[in-house]
């Protein structure tokens, strides 16, 4: 398919800007101007509409295909949230307005959404206070690590190390390192969860804390989790809950009750805001009472007269982590989702997500190697080890699934399982959909035996076949060259 730039016709116009209704009195000095306008494509509005409509048809999304991408919680995104996100009272609201005197009163609805989402998240996680500012999950991690650092600094200690299990998402060590910490990986034990004995040996007075995803990236809940929190606290460290897998325990277990000190939540996962092809997300961070003073500024507070206001006077705060109050449009959609699910809906999220994952696991375990056989939580991890006898890899199974009409699971992560296939169905998927997927996976396992070449040549139903990623990295072409 052609690029926008290849469709350009000199002189063609799309949307026309408004006419000028003012006399021009000041002309900016020419030396400050660009000699020619930027070389953008020249297209009609219809050209643009056809182009992007055609592009959209080259994508799988949750609305078009089952999307069991492990660790990404690709659940259904309700349409009503999109409608509400577009209400002019929200979409057209300038973020500086509440910072003007008399402006706060004109943004009460938006401040109330932020305040109430904060309260709902406190109740869901068992934390004492939240910041809505972090703009993504990884941004929440960074904010959380900055809070850990501020806490220790405030107590006059400079600790250097954060402990992170070897199964963690790559963002954990990256966030810790960016905030100035050294990272030590805690090994997993034979059952696939963090090794408590190893943790015990690694704890010392240089350890600022532990970052943990629970259940972990194998979809396994660590039964010693309470003990783990206790050990870290005994060593004067803090325990950070990476909320990437919160969907597995939503409505059933609260990180705050377990003993975690800091939590971030990926609203785009657990609370069904659209993933947008890779963002925008939102990563609010919750903390226990003793850490509340370190949260970023500003915070939305409710005054005695029932109005909402922004509070800036927080001397121990880590400062600003985002330009305003977070990704408001994303927070708003999550708020709508939580209100619609309500208590009784939230209490069933985990139960259904976990049942769906175990259903897939049990039905496929005869056909694929299952490294950890115990009941999983929201996702299950298989290995393509058995298929390797036919010299096939996880990627071949993934590509064959595409031809069957399914988005593949996450492959090659977590790295502690060789040739891993990580499947997360979510609670919004029906049994019929799961059965279709299971059937396709079994058929692929069968073809791996009888006709392995057919898997190696997949996918065949897509606009392009497997792409040469080595060539992309060697001959770097990241922008279409300009003409002339």
């Amino acid at each position: 398919m052609k690029l926008l730039f290849e469709k350009s016709v000199p002189g063609r116009r799309g949307v026309r800007p408004c006419r000028s209704d003012v006399p021009t009195s000041i002309h900016i000095n020419e030396r400050l101007l660009r000699p020619k306008p930027p070389q953008l494509p020249e297209l009609s509005e219809l050209d643009v509409v056809r182009h992007f409509t055609e592009l959209s048809r080259r994508n799988f999304g949750v609305d078009t295909n089952f999307y069991p991408l492990g660790s990404c919680t690709m659940k259904y995104n309700p349409k009503v949230s999109e409608i509400i996100g577009g209400y002019p009272g929200f979409a057209d609201l300038h973020p500086l307005l509440p910072q003007l005197r008399m402006g706060g009163i004109l943004t009460q609805g938006a401040l109330q959404v932020l305040y109430e989402t904060d309260l709902l998240l406190r109740e869901i996680t068992g934390m004492a206070a939240f910041t809505m500012q972090p703009l993504a999950g990884a941004h929440g991690e960074l904010t959380g690590v900055m809070i850990i650092s501020a806490y220790h600094r405030d107590r006059g200690s400079r600790r250097t190390t954060l402990l992170i299990p070897d199964s963690a998402h790559g963002t954990n060590p990256a966030s810790a390192s960016i905030a100035g910490y050294q990272v030590q990986a805690v090994p997993s034990d034979a059952t696939g969860v963090m090794d408590v004995q190893a943790l015990r040996r690694m704890l010392n007075d240089q350890v600022a804390g532990l970052m943990l995803t629970c259940p972990n990236t194998l979809g396994l809940f660590n039964p010693h989790i309470k003990e783990i929190c206790r050990l870290v606290h005994e060593a004067d460290g803090l325990v950070y809950y990476d909320g990437a897998n919160l969907n597995a325990i939503t409505g059933m277990v609260r990180p705050g009750d377990i003993g975690f000190d800091i939590v971030h939540i990926n609203l785009h996962k657990t609370f069904a805001t659209p993933h947008g092809g890779g963002g925008p997300g939102a990563g609010p961070v919750g903390v226990v009472e003793r850490l509340a003073d370190y949260l970023p500024v500003s915070l939305v507070v409710k005054r005695d007269d029932g109005t909402f206001a922004l509070e800036y006077d927080r001397p121990k705060s880590i400062g600003y982590v985002a330009p305003f109050y977070g990704n408001f449009g994303v927070i708003l959609r999550a708020y709508v989702y939580i209100r619609m699910l309500g208590r009784e809906g939230l209490e069933r999220v985990a139960a259904n997500a976990v049942l769906n994952a175990n259903y897939v696991k049990e039905k496929l375990k005869g056909h694929y190697d299952l490294p950890f056989a115990q009941a999983c939580k929201h996702e299950c991890v298989f290995s393509a080890r058995r298929q390797m006898e036919q010299h096939l890899h996880a990627i071949d199974i993934a590509k064959a699934l595409i031809d069957a009409g399914f988005h593949p699971p996450t492959v090659y992560f977590p790295t502690i399982v060789k040739e891993s296939l990580m499947i997360e169905p979510t609670e919004t998927e029906s049994r019929e959909t799961l059965d279709g997927f299971i059937e396709a996976m079994i058929e692929i396992a069968r073809r791996a035996q009888t006709d392995p070449d057919s898997l190696r040549s997949a996918p065949r139903t897509t606009p392009v076949g497997r792409l040469d990623e080595t060539a992309a990295a060697r001959q770097i072409n990241v922008a279409f060259p300009e003409v002339g």
Binding site: P38, V49, G61, L142, G170, R343, G345, T428, A471, V478
Partner: protein
């Protein structure tokens, strides 16, 4: 149950088939860790949620005539953007890990990167970052990595909202910050050159700067490069429809806030941080990057490339912890630029400048209202000094239906009487006249 597909009957059937009891699913969670009943209201229907949220939206005033800017602007958004970016094949997809079924997203990212390069006249752009502020922070750490130095010169005409973000992120890092004080509204050449030395990793400036003043940093880039340092320029992308580009000025890293390119203000986000650099620094750039390649049959396709820089491979040695970009926001910016084209973008930028200059003439003609900076060129935003505290006047104007501007006392100690006024193409001659009258009545 809303959004949960399986019926009770189906669940029982599924459990039976896999030979498990409901309690088996959570046997690994110690019973004492289970939470009781959540203190959260019962769920509500779509009809109810729309009624309640309509009510909440109604408590926000969008009726004010908006002259607020500060890096975030009330620009016109063509209808086709919502229609196209609202296609759920785009918004319900995720990061394009499987390129064969993500060519829509990947080609759009490649086209977006190309647009950003052409707009800024730089050689390589990434797939986007969270917002203009975090993008500027990422540019700074990129300069530290490239140069292996630790000193940053940061002029106070750079958006203070970004400066405070950079400050909080840098608290644990060994960075020597040298803040310089603007020289009558422009980046302070004397102070910057005085501090520029062999330890300097980068000089950070903005164009148009926070006060709306337009500059040419060619002289600075020459001086900066002589010392082996980098020039980072934060910019306003819509203004690049007419303004000299950071690329032409010799910038090494360019960032900015893309909200002006077809994104709603949405009370502070989601927004769009963009970043572009020179070819030689591409491997030091954070974030996703889409690249062109081919399949076995020679068909062109796009993939995420140079992933070895990123957190999922490099973990604690990655260029950044960033995992996602702001793909949907970048898509909106791409559609905006496609719809306007070169002439359209030039016209919108020119309208903004024209209307701002008209407003400037009208407002500086008022008694006791003066221009803060002398004989400086501005794009669509300017600073005026009022006879009394600006915050008071602004508060009274809010009551008259105007978001007249932003009081600079919030970030600059000696600017108690200064107001920052932004004018976009959406403001009419009549609205500008009404603001002038309302302001005159308050003086």
């Amino acid at each position: 149950m809303p959004f949960i597909a399986n019926t009770d009957q189906q669940r029982q059937q599924m459990l039976r088939e896999i030979g498990l009891r409901p309690e088996d699913l959570f046997a690994d969670i110690p019973p004492e860790l289970r939470c009781g009943r959540l203190n959260i209201p019962e769920g509500i229907s779509e009809q109810e949620v729309r009624r309640q949220l309509t009510e909440l939206a109604g408590k926000n005033s969008t009726e004010l005539v908006c002259f607020l800017g500060g890096g975030f602007y009330d620009h016109f958004i063509p209808a086709a953007i919502d229609a196209l970016a609202g296609r759920s094949e785009f918004y319900t997809a995720y990061t394009p890990y499987q390129p064969e079924i993500s060519q829509g997203t990947l080609q759009a990212i490649y086209e977006y990167q190309t647009m950003i390069c052409r707009l800024t006249q730089m050689e390589a752009a990434n797939a986007s970052l969270y917002d203009g502020g975090t993008a500027l922070y990422e540019a700074m750490t990129m300069a530290l990595r490239i140069t292996g130095r630790n000193k940053i010169i940061l002029d106070d005409s750079v958006n203070p909202i970004y400066r405070v973000i950079i400050e909080s992120y840098s608290r644990n890092l060994r960075i020597e910050f040298v803040p310089t004080r603007n020289d009558d509204g422009l980046a302070n050449r004397c102070e910057i050159l005085e501090n520029l030395d062999a330890q300097t990793a980068a000089v950070i400036v903005q164009n148009p700067n926070f006060f709306g003043c337009v500059d040419d940093y060619r002289d600075l880039s020459v001086a900066v490069h002589e010392k082996g340092a980098l020039l980072i320029v934060s910019c306003y992308p819509l203004a690049l429809g007419i303004l000299k580009t950071p690329g032409a000025m010799g910038a090494d890293i360019v960032t900015g806030e893309g909200q002006s390119l077809g994104l709603p203000l949405s009370f502070g986000g989601p927004y769009l941080g963009f970043m572009a650099t020179r070819r030689q620094y591409i491997r030091k750039m954070p974030g996703r990057i889409a690249g062109q390649t081919t399949d076995a049959e020679g068909r062109r396709g796009f993939v995420l490339t140079l992933q070895a820089r990123e957190q999922h491979i490099r973990r604690d040695k990655a260029t950044s912890n960033i995992c996602t970009n702001e793909s949907l926001c970048a898509l909106r910016a791409l559609i905006y630029l496609s719809l306007l084209g070169p002439t359209g973008l030039q016209e919108v930028a020119q309208r903004c400048a024209d209307k701002a200059s008209y407003a400037y003439q009208r407002l500086t003609a008022l008694p006791r209202v003066t221009s803060r900076f002398h004989r400086k060129w501005f794009f669509n935003e300017f600073v005026l000094d009022l006879p009394g505290p600006a915050a008071d006047v602004i508060a009274r104007l809010v009551e008259k239906g105007f978001a007249a501007g932003f009081p600079l006392s919030r970030y600059y100690e000696d600017m108690d009487r200064s107001i920052l006024i932004a004018v976009t193409e959406k403001r009419t001659k009549q609205e500008i006249g009404m603001l002038a009258e309302a302001l005159e009545a308050q003086l």
